[in-house]
Amino acid sequence: MFSILIYTALLVSSLGIFMLLSKKHILSILIGIELFLNGINLFFITVSKSYSNDAADIFILFILVITACEVAIGLAIFLVNQRINKTIDINDLNKLKDF
């Protein structure tokens, strides 16, 4: 039971990482990060239950709240970015360069 859950968690997080690396749309990258984080959450819950420990039950909530705050701030930044730079493609964010 636990091993199935752990494999699922790893699958979810690896999907998140792949999405993070392969997508060009800003929101898709954000969703990739969220997916990675949710895979970690599942892993955390599973490990905590296998120790028969209650730590995960409350810490998951903290992680979720942190994530929600980050998403709110990220969406605000993306909104301003779209209004000023007129782009949602990360390849177009190339004004700042070394040379």
Partner: protein
């Protein structure tokens, strides 16, 4: 810990490409497709005149963002209510502090006019 070696292999497989991506800022897995007709807004063969980004009133976005922040408050209220039976004065005090902090945020948003619905 039976799963540890699997985890190790998995993370090496994941970590090395991630490291390479971060090293070489430009490289990506995705192939750069040309922007052809199928990427256009309506896909009807007719070249579109403008972009689909019309001026949507910013009130939608602002209210949605503020809604996310106040909606997530329930996550903290729920476990507090479940443990209400054996709570001390410290628990009440800290929860009241939490509500006050949220309330200050709400007053800020209200006074700055972010909740006003103007087109």
């Amino acid at each position: 810990m039976q799963y540890s070696y699997f985890l190790m292999v998995f993370l090496v497989i994941v970590g090395i490409p991630l490291f390479m991506i971060l090293i070489s800022k430009g490289a990506r897995f995705v192939i750069n497709r040309k922007r052809n007709v199928s990427d256009s807004i309506y896909e009807c063969g007719e070249p579109s005149i403008e972009s689909s980004w019309k001026q949507i009133p910013v009130s939608y976005f602002k209210i949605a963002l503020i809604f996310i922040l106040f909606d997530i408050e329930i996550v903290f209220i729920f476990p507090w209510i479940l443990s209400l039976g054996n709570s001390s004065e410290l628990s009440y005090l800290s929860f009241i502090t939490f509500i006050i902090i949220l309330f200050i945020g709400w007053i800020y948003a209200y006074k700055k006019g972010y909740l006003k619905w103007e087109m």
